[in-house]
Amino acid sequence: MKNFNDIVDKIITRLGTSNDSEICTAILAAFKLVFIPFATMSDKKSTKDQKQYALTRDFLTEGVALAGYIGITRVVKNSLTAPICAKYYKEKAKDLIKQNKLDINSADYKLLTNIDKVALKNHAMNEFLEESAKKYTKNQEQHIKALEDIVKRFPLIQNPKDLYLNTKKTISHASVCVLALTLIPFITNKLIYVLSKIKSQDENKPEIKPSLPKQTTLKPYSMQQYINNIKVGGLNVFNR
């Protein structure tokens, strides 16, 4: 019971801190993986072929969705968030130059256009890690402090931590949407194609019949040969 409470505690803390889209959609996909094929099976009016196809499709779609929401979304958000944040700072630096608030040769401009992506990620994610798992080098810390100083002077620019976390949430949802609209049904179609190929190969395989002993064709036997082969007491009597 204590373990169960700990799990619930972890889940509600996670959902309260950062309710990323993939968590909700993956839980729903898991629900659907069980219940939708069950509902399809209970349909008594559809033909066997219709039911079989719909069942395969339901099961594959939700299975691919579950794997995609957990796997692909995680990869996408981990690899895209920091580069997009860096791009944001670069564009903000260009805007500040256009507004004559920043000099192109200044250290601020150089820092805004050359963001250390790893430092940005570590800075934002350290909050969720235990003390031993935190990654932050001295250089990275200085880099982020300098960035925070710039952000304080220009309040329209978001601070690094908020920017990273906000972008992560939005990318997660964008990834879920792309997966739902195109990638999941596309992968399902491909899987169904592969399955149908395997099925048709099995159906077209020729049946292996048990091999019968070869029939020997009898040669015409002449009277002379017959007489020559007559044996009496194991001895050829006529063929001497």
């Binding site: 619930v8 803390t13 629900f31 349909d43 949430k169 739902a180 596309f186």
Partner: protein
């Protein structure tokens, strides 16, 4: 490019996608378009099989979104009544709220950030479970009963059109 970056980094967009109701609704609407389209494009199945599966998908997605939209908001308004079942929140006065108004007032008085996070998380968890029940348990059973009468009507209308054209 700038527009995409602005959207992805926007705090308003992040706030919007944090809500599980918005997540389910936007994902469901996209699925209602994508899944039946790809089912109809699948050339491995016969026309009848594709038609049945695509009609079922389209019906399911549109019906589930309507049911979700109708049911989730009343459910969400009342999830505070179930907060007392979370032992993590037993020290919080919010669980004693009897009305939605009282709950909102008590919620404002909570100063502990950690407790606020847990209350928000508990509400989201109940919302996800309710979504699961609506989308995966109730709706497929209803759609399974609806799919054949609707398919018959579509087929009947198509045949009538063909006969009219021939005449």
């Amino acid at each position: 490019m700038s527009l995409i970056v602005n959207f992805l980094t926007s705090p308003q967009a992040a706030e919007f996608v944090q809500n599980s109701t918005c997540q389910v609704l936007s994902e469901g609407c996209l699925k209602a378009v994508g899944r039946p389209t790809f089912t109809l494009l699948d050339k491995t199945a016969t026309k009848e099989e594709r038609k049945y599966s695509a009609t079922k998908e389209l019906l399911y997605q549109s019906f589930s979104m309507a049911a979700f939209f109708a049911l989730i908001f009343p459910i969400k308004r009342n999830t505070y009544k179930l907060l007392k079942f979370f032992p993590q929140l037993k020290d919080c006065d919010v669980i004693n709220a009897r009305t939605a108004k009282e709950y909102q007032e008590k919620l404002k008085q909570v100063t502990d950030k950690n407790m606020l996070t847990k209350i928000k998380g508990a509400n989201e968890l109940m919302s996800i479970i309710a979504s699961g029940v609506i989308l995966a348990v109730i709706t497929p059973q209803i759609v399974t009963r609806l799919v054949h009468p609707i398919m018959n009507k579509i087929n009947g209308a198509q045949e009538k059109n063909k006969l009219d054209k021939k005449a």
